[in-house]
C-alpha cells in the first residue's frame, strides 16, 4: 500500500484551510500529524477518507485517486463512534454486513477482532454500558474487520481521561506492532504523537501547513520508561517549543 498526498490545498469559501501539503506513507507506517486547533488536521483526514473534496492537489492510494469514502480507508472519530442500538459484537460486524460478507465469515472475524482489542467478554454489551476507552476499542475493531489498507484516527482518545488515554496508547502501539497496520493519527497532543508514531509532522495553523517533520527513533518496548526517558523528554520539549512559537498571543 502506498498513500501519496501531493500539494493538497483546501479552501472553505475564501478561507484557506490547508496550504500545499505533501507527504506519503507505506504499508506498516505509523504516522502522526500534530497541530493545534485551526491547523486543519481533521480536514486532512476527511480528505483522505474521501468525506470532503480537495480544492487542489491530489490524494492517491496505490495509484488510484481518492474520489469518495470507501472501506479501504477506515476511520475512527473522537466521539459518537458506535451505533448505540447495537451491542459490541454487532457493531464490529456492521461494516462486514454492509459489504455483504458471508455470515460464517462475519461471525468468525467478529470474534477474532473483539479478541484482538481485548473485548471478547463485552461482546453482548451495548455501547452505553461500555467505558469510553472500550467504546473506542470497539470502533477500532469494527474498522479493522473490514480489512482497510490504512486506519485513519481522528483524535481517537481525545475525549478520554488521562490515565485511560495512556493505556489506550499502549494498546494501540501493541496492536500496531503485532498486526503491522498502517496508521495515520491526528492529535493535538505532542506526547501522544511521539509515543505512538514513527514519523511526526507538525502542522502550523491558519492556513494549515507542515512546518516540521521528524522521525522518532526511540526504544518503545516499555512506554512507561519511554515517557520518562531523557531522549523522549528532550524531543517533547523541542516539539512543544515549536508549537508554542506558532501561537502569536503567547510568543
Amino acid at each position: 500500500m502506498e498513500l501519496i498526498v501531493n500539494n493538497l490545498s483546501k479552501h472553505f469559501g475564501e478561507k484557506l484551510i490547508l496550504d500545499h501539503l505533501s507527504f506519503s506513507m507505506q504499508s506498516g507506517d505509523f504516522m502522526a500529524l500534530v497541530g493545534s486547533s485551526g491547523s486543519g488536521k481533521s480536514t486532512i483526514l476527511r480528505l483522505i477518507a474521501g468525506l470532503d473534496q480537495p480544492s487542489s492537489g491530489s490524494i492517491s492510494v496505490d495509484d488510484t485517486p481518492v474520489s469518495g469514502p470507501g472501506p479501504d480507508r477506515g476511520m475512527v472519530f473522537q466521539k459518537y463512534s458506535l451505533y448505540p442500538w447495537l451491542n459490541a459484537a454487532e457493531n464490529v460486524a456492521f461494516g462486514m454486513r454492509l459489504q455483504r460478507m458471508k455470515a460464517a465469515e462475519i461471525k468468525e472475524r467478529t470474534a477474532y477482532f473483539l479478541e484482538v482489542v481485548g473485548l471478547s467478554d463485552a461482546a453482548t454489551k451495548l455501547p452505553r454500558e461500555l467505558s469510553g476507552g472500550m467504546q473506542q476499542r470497539v470502533a477500532i475493531a469494527r474498522s479493522l474487520a473490514t480489512n482497510p489498507s490504512i486506519l485513519l484516527l481522528d483524535e481517537p482518545f481525545g475525549a478520554l481521561d488521562l490515565q485511560i488515554r495512556e493505556s489506550m496508547q499502549d494498546f494501540l502501539l501493541k496492536l500496531w506492532q503485532r498486526t503491522g497496520l498502517t496508521v495515520l493519527l491526528i492529535t493535538h497532543d505532542v506526547e501522544e504523537a511521539l509515543v505512538l508514531a514513527q514519523r511526526v509532522h507538525v502542522l502550523a495553523p491558519n492556513p494549515g501547513r507542515i512546518i516540521r517533520s521528524l522521525d522518532v527513533d526511540l526504544d518503545k518496548t516499555d512506554l512507561d520508561q519511554l515517557r520518562l526517558s531523557s531522549d523522549f523528554l528532550a524531543l517533547r520539549r523541542s516539539l512543544s517549543a515549536t508549537m508554542r512559537e506558532l501561537e502569536p498571543a503567547l510568543s
Binding site: A49, G50, L51, G68, P69, G70, P71, R73, G74, M75, V76, F77, K79, Y80, S81, Y83, P84, W85, F94, G95, L98, Q99, L126, P127, R128, A139, R142, S143, T146, L152
Partner: protein
Amino acid sequence: MTATAAAASKGRSNGLLSLFTLGAMPSKAVRGGLQVASLLVPLLLWTAIASLGLVDEKFLPSPQAVFRSLASMAASGILFQDIVASTGRVFGGFLLATLLAVPIGICMGVYPAICAICEPLIAMLRYMPAAAFIPLLIIYLGIGEEPKIALIFLGTIYFNILMVMDAVKFVPKELIETTLTLGGRSRQVLVQVVARYSLPSIIDTLRINIATSWNLVVVAELVAAEVGLGKRIQLAQRFFRTDQIFAELIVLGLIGFAIDMGFRLLLRLSCKWAV
C-alpha cells in the same frame, strides 16, 4: 437559630415547598400519589357538585348517570360499533400519513436539496386548517369513508414530515460518515443508520401527532357519518342526552390514553437502547 442550623437550611425549602425546588425529584411514592390525585380529585369534585345538585342535571349529569349510559350503549353494541368506526378512520388516515411522512422527512433531513424544494410548500400547507378542506374533500370524494380518512391524512402528514425531519437532523454526522467509511451505500446509510437512530424520536413524534387525528375524526363525523364516536355525540345533542355526550367524551379520552401508552410501550420494546 444557630449558625450551623442556618447553614444547613440555606438554599433549601422545607415541606410542600420543596416540591417546587428546581431540579428536585420527589420520591416515587409522592409522584405516584400526585398522579392518582390528578384523576381522582376532578372525579370527586364532579361527584360532589352533582350530588349536591349545584348544577341542573340536564347540563351536568352525575357520574352514575354517565356510567349507566355508558353501560347501556356498551350492552346495545352501539359503543363497540362507534369505537371500531372511529379508530378505523384514525388508523387508516394516520397510517397513510406516516407511511409517506417518514421517508419524505428522512430524505428532507438528510438532503438539503430535497429540504429546500419541499419545506416552503409544506410550511404553507401546514397552516391551512385541515377542517377547511372538508367541503373540497366532499366534492372530490363524496361522503363515504374516503373524505374522513383523507381529512386525517391531510391534518397529520405535514406535522409528521417536519417532526421526522427535525429528528433526523440529530443523527450525529460522525455516525453517518463512519458508515460511509465502512463501505455503506446511500440507501444503507438512510435505512440502517439514519432511520434506525431516529426511530425513538419518530415513534415519539407519532405518539404526539396521533392526538390531532382524534380531533379530526370527530370533526369529520360531525359533518357526515352514520356511525362513530363523533356522530354519536352529535345525535346525543339533538336529544339533549348530556349523559351520552359525557360518556362518549370519556371513551374518546380513554382510547387516546391507551394509544399513547401503546406508543410508549412500542418505544420501550423496540428501542431498549434509548430508554
